[in-house]
Assembly symmetry: C2
Homo-oligomer: 248 residues x 2
Amino acid sequence: MRLQLKIAYDGTRFGGWQIQPNAVTIQQEIEAALHTVAKTPIRLHGSGRTDAGVHALGQVAHFDSPDTVNMNPFNWVPALNSKLPPEIRIIECSEQSPDFHARFCARSKTYSYRLCLSPILPPFLAHRAWHLPRQLNPDDLREALAQFQGTHDFRAFAANRGNEDESTDYHRTITKADLSVLNDGYLLQFTGNGFLYKMVRLLTGAAVQVAQGYLRHDDLSDLIDNPGQKKSPLCAPPDGLSLVEVNY
Amino acid sequence: MRLQLKIAYDGTRFGGWQIQPNAVTIQQEIEAALHTVAKTPIRLHGSGRTDAGVHALGQVAHFDSPDTVNMNPFNWVPALNSKLPPEIRIIECSEQSPDFHARFCARSKTYSYRLCLSPILPPFLAHRAWHLPRQLNPDDLREALAQFQGTHDFRAFAANRGNEDESTDYHRTITKADLSVLNDGYLLQFTGNGFLYKMVRLLTGAAVQVAQGYLRHDDLSDLIDNPGQKKSPLCAPPDGLSLVEVNY
């Protein structure tokens, strides 16, 4: 039976989603919990990676429950949560058709990025926001975000993974890039049909540079519409980033 | 020059306020930062201890700045914060008269205790709330809190420190014990002229037991007004507790 998990996590002390040597990862923790519950190794397929220190409110993943486990999807939630650290919580478990795939069936994703402008970053926001004690111009921030909307060649906002070549397609469509006002800063929101490696952090870094007066709107337009070999200069730290939702 | 610090911290990964062997504590971290800034050892005096895992929004402490340090009180804030981990923040620094003492001059303290009733504790509340997925009766909770108000012999709500004797005075005055409603639970608030060891956690545990139907209001009254050798049976975990404010 193919099952879909919706997962929330505080990524602070993890080395990101994907299993790798020398770091404890979210995927590794959940696969260990699946192994314990099912008494057999189970591979978990996420909708995509999140980097070290990045959080999630609604990451999605799927796995195939072996026939030897006769358990209602609903009951996987407490069974897994009882094996997981409190920083990782399974929020939902539901049955899907056998051809459902958490990564390949995803139609869009929504990320949020939290900026804190307080002179002093409160301890409860440590590792959960980008601390920017200098003033930002909110109109410039909003305008920069609006510039990202639409379908563009986002190669200037993609970190290299090392496997890029001539055929790599950097076009993505951002359907929403805006902000809401918090009492101590802003919450940026990005929805798109796909995001390149570190793209949300590079978009956020560029928008902040515009709002701080370090980058002109014209230069931002140039990076979006005529990137060439140029790269956007500032990558926001992972702390403020959360994967909010994956849409199918 | 006697200086007063107002301090916020996320106590999750610390062994409480007070310096002790085999644990990293808040006092130790701030004294180390003071030592680095002042280039000489400085003793920091807190308004009182907080236990391992307990948080603070407004802990208060004082120290004497040596004559060799010629620094405006205002400038201690960034100087110390640059040496401290992000889970500990100095919020304010102000000059006090030489006879000010953070502990002996405190007139009252306010604590909050966060209860989360969601079926699943969100990761961002891990270590920051007491997870109570069973329903509570809010009227019973409110009524139990009201019973604590006033001056009582709170010996039933004091954990033993080992230094108690016949002369120990367990009378304390609670001027406020109530709750506000959050979207996923309740925030209890306690203000009093002093609190015994683990008293807020023991009061919270008893109020929750009343609200869950495990303890009758009459039995709670008995613990408050006629304690004898009886002890309240449930101590709430440190996770949900924060020292909000110390009043002078």
